[in-house]
């Protein structure tokens, strides 16, 4: 859960994030973005038909960086969007719906390859909701998933296609991804 989200969460589910250790610094994050972007291009034989969609709120800045990096590498600017899955969640009501978490799908998704981008892959429920939400815009030819951190503990049969860092965690730990690095800690 990104910092912005936490600030709006009701007290019993929220709290303040306290970092225990830093597991990636900003250079590591930059390198991971670069490598994942190369992998996206390699796997899709170029970047035509690609659409990058960041999941609100933590995935959006990462998606933006991947789009910028892709433009640098391939000289082609792919459409970038953002998606708020709050209304599609199975635990709706336990998390806030944030008015500022904007959904923006810039192009028709029919026959496009959609790369969903998120900061942390945990239970897989956010991704499940995102797959559900995508269908209201069209029928992509494929949907792929890129995450900065895969922290395990999946509750659904979902895996990421591109992973910045696989990070074994305990269930009660929190992973916080920011542009200046990745921290592991807990809510207090």
């Amino acid at each position: 859960m990104a910092e912005r989200e936490r600030r709006f969460t009701v007290p019993h589910a929220g709290g303040t994030f306290r970092s225990r250790s830093q597991v990636m610094n900003s250079d590591d994050v930059g390198r991971a973005v670069r490598r994942m972007t190369h992998e996206v291009i390699e796997r899709n034989h170029g970047s035509s038909n690609l659409v990058m969609i960041g999941l609100q709120t933590g995935g959006v800045p990462i998606a933006r960086r991947m789009v910028d990096t892709l433009a640098e590498i391939d000289g082609y600017s792919v459409p970038a969007g953002s998606l708020d899955v709050a209304l599609h969640r199975d635990d709706i009501g336990l998390r806030p719906v944030l008015p500022q978490a904007e959904t923006l799908i810039p192009v028709n998704l029919d026959r496009q390859v959609v790369v969903l981008v998120d900061d942390v892959l945990f239970t897989g429920r956010t991704v499940r909701a995102a797959l559900d939400a995508l269908h209201t815009w069209g029928r992509p030819s494929a949907v792929q998933l890129a995450v900065m951190v895969d922290r395990g503990h999946r509750e659904l049969p979902i895996r990421a296609d591109y992973v910045g860092r696989s990070l074994p965690t305990n269930l009660d730990e929190m992973v916080d991804v920011q542009t200046d690095g990745v921290h592991i800690g807990e809510l207090v």
Binding site: D84, L87, H88, D91, I92, L94, P99, T136, W137
Partner: protein
């Protein structure tokens, strides 16, 4: 049950809402407006929830837009039409409402010609009650969509000047709008001949004028009300023609409005009475926008009342 109804479980009156609540609904509305723009405008947020329409009075916009809002949130809807129901056999309101609740519903949207009916219904049942217009009292969702529409066009409304023109005495929209616009910091002027004003305006945060031409050049929003021909026992003005000559918005008057001033109307319009046909077509006339925004606002309201998923008692103490 306490006399002040829990604003997080029911929407009965704008006066139950804090300014922060109103702002929260307007902010959330944008998320739902986005849903309406999708190719498949439907989200599963209220899946498995059932909403009943209990309309004892005619309605086009309110009912259809509540229906569209519920459907876009995947709620189930049950229609109750008074004409073909046991109300015709003399069943009381309370028995009707309790029978409906026994079928397992989550919300009742009530419109009735008597003021206070939604409040009574809220006392009787556990489901959420939404006031869709009670007599000459309130019409809260209309006020919320008016605010949202005005904010979309004008931005921050604090300090904005709003004139509400016409049949104030019979208008539930006027009551809700006065409360809603003043809560957002706008200044409201009621413009009407004396017979169309309520007997007492004591405690109302409004100014009063009997001359539309005097206020036209100073307002940001000209809100026209429908002459409620069905609610007025006897028409309180000498003639509709005279009313139109003094208070109707025709082209000449519309030209004297400030640049960018909005012309609003809750509908349905009496063209040629409170508003002229060619004024309806002006770029600053936002009447169709109001209708379109009505769906998104009602989605936000239904979602806030039903979609929290939290226990209502816990909900009450939940900070917004």
């Amino acid at each position: 049950m306490n006399s002040r109804h829990n604003a997080r479980r029911h929407l009965l009156s704008i006066s139950d809402l804090e300014t922060a609540d109103i702002e929260r609904i307007c902010d959330l509305t944008e998320s739902f407006a986005e849903v309406s723009r999708r190719r498949i405008p439907r989200v599963p947020a209220l899946r498995g929830r059932t909403v009943v329409w209990l309309f004892y009075e005619d309605s086009t916009r309110t009912r259809l837009s509540f229906e569209a809002a519920a459907k876009q949130l995947s709620a189930d809807t049950v229609n109750f039409s008074v004409g073909s129901s046991s109300v015709n056999k003399g069943e009381s309101l309370r028995d009707t409402v309790e029978a409906i609740e026994a079928m397992g519903i989550d919300a009742i949207v009530v419109r009735h010609s008597c003021a206070g009916v939604p409040h009574r219904v809220a006392d009787w049942i556990d489901a959420s009650v939404i006031n869709a217009g009670d007599g000459c009292h309130e019409h809260p969702t209309q006020a919320l969509l008016d605010l949202y529409t005005a904010r979309n066009r004008l931005g921050d409304l604090s300090g904005a000047s709003v004139a509400i023109v016409g049949d104030i005495a019979h208008s539930r929209v006027a009551r809700s709008d006065v409360l809603a616009f003043t809560a957002m910091g706008a200044e409201v002027t009621l413009v009407a001949p004396r017979p169309l004003l309520p007997l007492s305006l004591e405690g109302w945060p409004v100014k009063v004028s009997h001359n539309l031409d005097e206020v036209l050049g100073e307002i940001d929003i000209c809100y026209l009300l429908r002459m409620q021909l069905e609610r007025a026992a006897s028409l309180d003005v000498p003639s509709l023609r005279e009313f139109r000559a003094e208070y109707g918005l025709d082209s000449a008057r519309a030209n004297r409005l400030r640049d960018g001033a909005l012309i609003m109307h809750p509908g349905p319009m009496n063209r040629g009475v409170e508003i002229d046909g060619d004024v309806v077509e002006r770029p600053n006339t936002v009447i169709t926008e109001q209708v379109a925004n009505g769906v998104a606002v009602r989605m936000a309201v239904l979602f806030l009342l039903l979609g929290s998923g939290l226990d209502t008692s816990e909900n009450e103490s939940m900070a917004a």
